[in-house]
């Protein structure tokens, strides 16, 4: 589903590579934790998958497409195959929960009849069926993140990227989000989650890819977070 071949990425004006000679292969339906300190290259890796950046060298294949060679006009189609959840939720404050999720479908031109059917289903799945009319500022952090997950998943992407989705949440709420991502993963969606939450990683026993200074230093099938403080 995702394949990195000797991928390096050097940002403009910098000498050190944000990612260096990375080789990873992630199969369809896999769940992968991406761990490593700040600046180790986790976010860069996700942005390369989303084609927000091109790799400086190397090749990246996402859902069968050679991402670096993709012409600009085909990028939207690539991103429709990928859902993205970030640490800061990124909800639209003026819109209700329903509207926030519906927005992701509206802007890619989905018909209203489909939106009216799919959005409540997805909100039901994330456990917010009773809060569709609320605005983000009326929700708790965990609930806001559920809305963000619903928005990322509503179009049933093949890949879900989560960049520290529990970074702003307390441990109990984090478990809820984790369970949600696990459920999404079981519906054949490939999930890549960057995290600092060692307890979660240790508990889940999924594949762990550890990055340090842009290098993959560990790729373990049923791993734990690793060296902890």
């Amino acid at each position: 589903m995702i394949r990195f071949e000797e991928v390096s990425r050097i940002y403009d004006g910098q000498t050190r590579a944000a990612l260096a000679n990375v080789n990873i292969e992630i199969e369809k339906g896999e769940f992968v934790f991406l761990v490593g300190g700040s600046g180790s290259g986790k976010s860069t890796l996700m942005k390369l998958i989303l084609r927000e950046y091109r790799p400086t060298t190397g090749r990246i294949y996402v859902a069968g497409k050679d991402v670096a060679a993709l012409p600009e006009r085909k990028i939207p189609a690539l991103r429709r195959e990928i859902g993205m959840v970030s640490q800061d939720f990124r909800l639209l404050p003026g819109k209700t929960v329903f509207e926030n999720v519906a927005f992701a479908l509206q802007v890619i031109g989905k018909p209203r009849s489909l939106i009216r059917k799919v959005v409540p289903e997805t909100l039901e799945m994330v456990g917010l069926a009773d809060k569709m009319g609320r605005r983000p500022d009326e929700l708790s952090g965990g609930e806001q993140q559920r809305v963000a997950v619903a928005r990322a998943f509503v179009n049933h992407p093949k890949i879900l990227l989560a960049d520290e989705p529990t970074g702003n949440l307390d441990p109990e709420t984090s478990v809820g989000i984790m369970k949600l991502l696990d459920r999404i993963n079981r519906s054949e969606t490939t999930v890549v989650m960057a995290t600092h939450d060692w307890a979660m990683v240790d508990q889940m026993r999924k594949r762990v890819v550890e990055l340090e200074s842009g290098h993959v230093i560990r790729d373990q099938a049923r791993g734990i977070y690793g060296a902890r403080a």
Binding site: L50, R51, E52, E72, R73, I75, P76, A77, L78, R79, R80, E81, I82, M84, R90, L92, F103, A104, Q106, V107, I108, G109, R112, R151, N155
Partner: protein, 301 residues
């Protein structure tokens, strides 16, 4: 589509003040622009009409007139001189038609024109002049003949309407181009205003645009509301300006000038629609191009 329209509507509402400013600038500048176009067409009509009617009148010497031209003081032009002049006119390839008018005929015409006016007593038969009236193939090509005749004995004066009309047209032309130039300055201001408005709108909608790009919205969906917003503002401005122009043509030309000065040909609806078409086109171009330039960076990833 519904989403595009609702986004556009909310954008227009959010920026209602600045949208009105754009509409008003567009309105005034396009009105000026249209007025300039109408004026240009009117000047062309005048030119065509007047130049067609222009004749060159060659006045011959008469005993009563002491001054000017190539006259022998106190003498009428001789028959020999007249023949030479007539010959020169006839042989010139630019001449379409020449008519001789004797002083008696000229006096009769004069009395006829001013029969109800005290002016008719101001001239006597003796003061009238024999003359040739010359019509040219191309009224613009008058200089050759005029300079040739100027040198001939017996010619007292050559009256040539070009000398009177040309400065008038020059001023009219300056006025019309001045109007258009002024309107272009204002139109540029309107375009800058639109560009700035869209830039501000992309800031306020930055988060939305970010999400749209992330979920794979096409450029059409991202740019659509902005383009439509500018286009609506531009077209409303063009609509108001067209209304202003149509009213102006009706009020100033059809209702007043045409009735008061029937002798002239005036611009009508055909010319007005041409101007309106140009205005709408300019409005579309000037609203879309600044929008694309301002929002271009959102087309990139």
């Amino acid at each position: 589509m519904r989403h595009l329209l609702s986004e556009t509507w909310s954008g227009l509402r959010r920026n209602v003040g600045i949208t009105l400013a754009v509409v008003m600038t567009m309105w005034v500048s396009l009105s000026l622009f249209g007025a300039g176009l109408i004026a240009a067409q009117q000047v062309n009509l005048f030119k065509g009409e007047w130049y067609d009617k222009i004749e060159i009148t060659v006045y011959l010497c008469t005993a009563k007139l002491q001054t000017g031209g190539n006259c022998d003081p106190g003498q009428d032009a001789t028959d020999e001189q007249k023949d030479q002049i007539h010959d020169a006119i006839e042989k010139n390839p630019e001449v379409l038609k020449v008519e001789y008018q004797s002083k008696e005929e000229a006096y009769e015409e004069f009395l006829n024109v001013f029969k109800d006016s005290p002016i008719k007593d101001s001239l006597t038969l003796e003061e009238m002049q024999d003359n040739y009236r010359v019509k040219l193939v191309d009224p613009q090509q008058y200089q050759g003949l005029v300079s040739q005749l100027k040198l001939m004995r017996g010619v007292q004066k050559i009256q040539d309407l070009h000398q009177i009309l040309e400065p008038v047209f020059k001023w009219l032309g300056a006025l019309q181009w001045g109007t258009i130039a002024l309107s272009i300055v204002l139109l540029l201001a309107a375009a800058l205003q639109i560009g700035t408005t869209i830039r501000m709108a992309t800031f306020t909608r930055g988060r939305e645009i970010g999400i749209m790009r992330l979920v794979g919205a096409s450029n059409f969906h991202i740019m659509g509301p902005f383009l439509l917003e500018s286009l609506i503002a531009g077209l409303v401005g063009a609509f108001l300006a067209s209304g202003t122009l149509v009213f102006g043509v009706w009020f100033i030309i059809l209702r007043n000038a045409q009735r008061g000065l029937e002798a002239f040909r005036w611009v009508g609806w055909t010319e007005t629609w041409i101007a309106v078409g140009a205005m709408v086109l300019v409005a579309i171009i000037l609203s879309i191009i600044p929008t694309i330039i301002s929002a271009r960076r959102y087309l990139r990833v």
